[in-house]
Amino acid sequence: MEKYIEITDEDIAEVSMASSKGVTDVFNQLLKTVKARLVYPASSKLPQQFKNELFGALSSLLDQQDELAFKVEADSISYKDACVYKARSKTENFAHPFFRDGILEFKFKSGLTFEELEEFIEISSQMTRSAIFDDDAATLLWEAGFEHITYELMDDFLDIETFEYGTDMLKTGKSPSDSSFKDIFESEIDLNLTEEDFDLDSEKNKSSSAPAGYRNIEDNVAQFIGTITEFSDSEKDKVATMLRADAEFDHIKYAIDILFEILGTESDNASYNETMDLITKVGTDFIRTGDFNSVLTIIDRAKELSQIFMKLDDPKHEKMAALVEKFAASEKIRILVEYLNKARDVNFEDVTKYLKMLPWQAVDPLVWALGELDHYPARRAVCKALEVQAVDHPDILGKGTESPRWYVVRNVISILGRIGDKRAFIYFKRAIQHPDIRVRKETVLAAGRIVSDEAAEFLVTALNDKDEKIQTLALREIVEKKIIVAFEPVRALIINKEFKNRPAEQIRELLAGFAKLGGGNAFAHLSKIILNKFQIPSEKNERLKINAIRALGYIDTSESKALLGKLASGRNRKLGDMARRILNKVKKGDRLV
């Protein structure tokens, strides 16, 4: 397969001066537009803007000179003998796809429409990409049927040396003699022709509905021939319907149907296996070209057949299952990754749908793919698929936590959390030790998604993580999931001497979480903090008390409210202000009590 051909800014800048500056400018604009189309999807604004500018410039030039002809060489393009494009290297060569396909020249003519130019840009960008299939530049230009863009093709492109027929070879060398010409007319007599046959006005000829050259034909044939020049409205409608139906017909799906039909009629094992291999090959080609709907059709069909064969106790069900598994193999996923990294305008919904249909054997290669895919939407599609495929195989998915790429580990952990299998904790325990904080954070979130004793235990352990951010995150999960067993470990954190030295935000969250988890049980310790008379009053101690008062708001007991009331009317202004605010909130129902 050829490499992607890229056109760089330098290519455009280094174009040598053409005799007409305007033409060079227009050609540069053309390259710029093709380049933009290579980089951005069709719907993007930039290629559109470039196309508009190019069309304006080109139309202005064509108003002045009727046509612009560009000669194509292997690595350059010229206008009136002046080079307007010179390729910088073999892989960065705009001229090459045209030259390779035998196009010697292309011309833009006056009257060029925007739609024509737009399609020309599409074709150019398509050709500048790798040519996987058989649509060469000449074919694409031909199919486009441009009126105002013409091209000159190398005349001998189709000449093949082995071909030896010439016009003379067609002649038999035989020629009729004059006597044989006489025979022609004499043989008519043998056919019982009479003068009447040659008289168009004769009754015999008038009454005959068959053409004169047709002899002895049946009425139905005569009638058929008699009407071939007339097409009724209903026939015209039928033609229109036929064409419409053909245009709408899904020929690719039909080709798949035919393949399975052939499979169904194979009578020997070797042919059966050969067709199975062919189906796999066709499916692989679909992946290579990004036709995920079609490969999905193959998988659906194979799964359906597998079920049918299983019901019939036919051993072919295993072959069908094996066919589906082939699409889960590393080799196929590798092709998928290649496509997704290279293609533009990918329909990721189709990709996701396809990946979700793969069997669990795809889990391992898809985890590998997570590390290889360049674009976020592609990785997201794989993650969504893994959520489905790895449901019964978290152990295979979990191996992904050994990946040296932090983002693979994070994605795997996230998927494990979404799947919700308890076996995930083996991997969470490893991941929580990961050097990258993003992985550890994801691990806490993932654990929070699995409602179980293991999750509680894991999150409680995370409360003691060396990283306070992880502790806070774990606490949030614990509170959100109402993991009551975490009350004591949280208390242990709070009563720790160093607690007051934590950042203010953490103290606030821990005390609030402590209150939410413990309810009435948390009151004693919170009141102790609030009422504690520190020997050396400090800002930290005060902050501790204020946050404890704030936490009281989450305890819906009379003694909590009573203490808030007492503090509200107390002498300490700061504590009193906070207590009043909390009481107000409680009254308004703003507080989660």
Binding site: K174, F181, I184, P211, E218, T227, I252, Y254, A255, K281
Partner: protein, 487 residues
């Protein structure tokens, strides 16, 4: 940077063609109606006054676009200035009327000048509606020109009919196309040969070149299908198997063209047709060349070629739109319209459109190549009769009707005798009068003409001459290939 806005440029380009086409169709409809009304009423009758106003109103709109304009019939179409008017229900009757009548009048149309005043226009309408043409078209033109002069109608002038107006292409161009047709035909043949060689030896097939070959065939067919059809009647080839594929391709494309397929779909159809027998390359050579009649085992194997073909194609190429469409022709070209035939289908169904087309072309060519395949010549009337008798069962009735309409009841290349005791080769079908095609007259009962004396006649224009029978060229040593360059 740019002097004109994008919109202005786009508008300039499109408006002219679209407007002229629309106005042109409106104009010929109103002109047609005005001429009819003028033939029934007096100029001061309200019906005519109303109609005349409509005509002036349309003409005013055209004059807003063009200072002077011509309305001409050429090659079976009506043109306003240089814009070919599209066919539409509303204007079809008018188009047919002008195409048929102007030729009798010896004119291709009229030129109208902007300064034309209403009185002059009315005079012109009443003159034209009442004009009774004589037998001689040229004399009619002279009369019209002189009468318009007498009536002082100076701002409408008749354009003289020329034979070229009825030719789709000029003669030089026709010759060039013939040469191009031959080259393209042989290129396609070379591609088929090369493909066969590749299938056997390298297990691959060159689809890019196949497509190019088909594109060449389509280009010629769009310009002059007869130039290509006559090549399908040649039989003197060393290995006819390959020629059969090219012939089937040409015949399929001609049918596809008459059906109304666009270029891209014609190309896809052509690829399927050119490759329709590719599976045969996978059959044992001994079977293909077997001189004896096939026995049951031979047939069993032979019937596998559509499956071999599709398997081969999918093994070597990816399935995308073109290969998928082509593959239906490969797989189903021996399946009948009613779903019978081979390979046996799990679900009996009507084959796809391309397969139905290729099936007709394949059967027609196999039968008309009688001597090659059956060691016996089957004349076109026998072929067509045979196929018509199988319509609805083996062939799609509407497609077969279109096919016979396209190739003619006396297909191009058919050798015929005529009622004036002349012998000729059918050069061009006449779809509106299939019994009277164009003929290359190559001799008479006294003998063969010198090549320089071979003339082409249009039987539809010849009084009292008609085809009397079709003859087998092989029987009388008449070789079509000798006359390829004539015409």
């Amino acid at each position: 940077m740019f002097d004109r806005s994008l919109k202005e440029i786009q508008d300039d380009q499109k408006v002219q063609e679209i407007t002229l086409d629309k106005l042109g169709r409106e104009f010929i409809s109103v002109l047609f109606a005005t001429l009819k009304i003028a033939s029934m009423y007096e100029p001061n009758n309200n019906r005519y006054i109303e109609q005349g106003n409509q005509l002036r109103s349309v003409m005013k709109k055209i004059f807003n676009q063009e200072s002077d304009f011509t309305l001409n019939a050429k090659g079976g179409y009506i043109y306003l200035c240089d814009v070919r008017l599209k066919s539409s229900r509303e204007s079809d009757d008018a188009m047919t009327y002008f195409l048929e009548n102007w030729r009798k009048l010896g004119i291709s149309g009229f030129t109208f000048m902007e300064s034309l005043d209403p009185r002059e226009l009315d005079k012109f309408i009443f003159f034209l509606s009442g004009f009774e043409p004589g037998e001689d078209a040229e004399e009619n033109y002279r009369l019209i020109a002189s009468r318009l002069n007498d009536l002082r109608i100076e701002r409408v002038s008749p354009n003289k009919y020329s034979v070229e107006d009825d030719l789709p292409i000029d003669e030089d161009e026709a010759k060039k196309i013939r040469v191009k047709a031959r080259k393209t035909f042989f290129s396609a043949l070379a591609v088929v040969q090369n493909n066969a060689h590749q299938v056997k030896n390298q297990n691959t097939v060159n689809i890019a070149k196949t497509k190019r070959a088909v594109q060449g065939l389509v280009d010629v067919i769009l310009k002059d299908e007869s130039a290509m059809l006559e090549l399908t009647t040649l039989r003197h080839f060393d290995d006819y198997t390959y020629v059969h594929s090219v012939n089937v391709c040409v015949l399929s494309l001609v049918l596809g063209y008459h059906l109304g397929l666009d270029k891209k779909r014609m190309s896809q159809l052509g690829v399927g047709a050119l490759l329709h027998d590719i599976g045969k390359m996978k059959l044992p050579v001994e079977l293909i060349n077997k001189p004896d009649e096939y026995d049951d085992n031979d047939w069993q194997l032979m019937r596998k070629h559509p499956v071999f073909g599709i398997k081969f194609l999918y093994k070597t190429r990816a399935v995308e739109e073109t290969t998928a469409r082509a593959s239906t022709a490969i797989f189903e070209h021996h399946i009948s319209y009613n779903g019978a035939g081979y390979p046996e289908l799990l679900n009996r169904r009507m084959p796809t459109l391309y397969a139905r087309i290729v099936s007709i072309a394949d059967t027609y060519n196999a039968m008309s190549s009688g001597r090659v395949y059956h060691r016996k010549t089957i004349m076109p009337d026998e072929v067509i009769t045979n196929m018509v008798n199988r319509v609805g069962k083996d062939f799609d009735p509407l497609l077969l009707k279109l096919f016979v309409n396209a190739i003619g009841i006396y297909p191009v290349g058919t050798i015929v005798t005529m009622s004036n005791k002349e012998i000729g080769i059918v050069a061009r079908n006449n779809p509106s009068d299939p019994e009277n095609p164009e003929i290359k007259v190559i001799g008479n009962e006294s003998g063969m003409f010198e090549k320089a004396d071979v003339k082409i006649i249009d039987l539809s224009q010849e009084e009292g001459v008609s085809i009397t029978r079709m003859i087998d060229g092989d029987e009388f040593n008449i070789d079509n290939a000798e006359y390829l360059d004539i015409g």
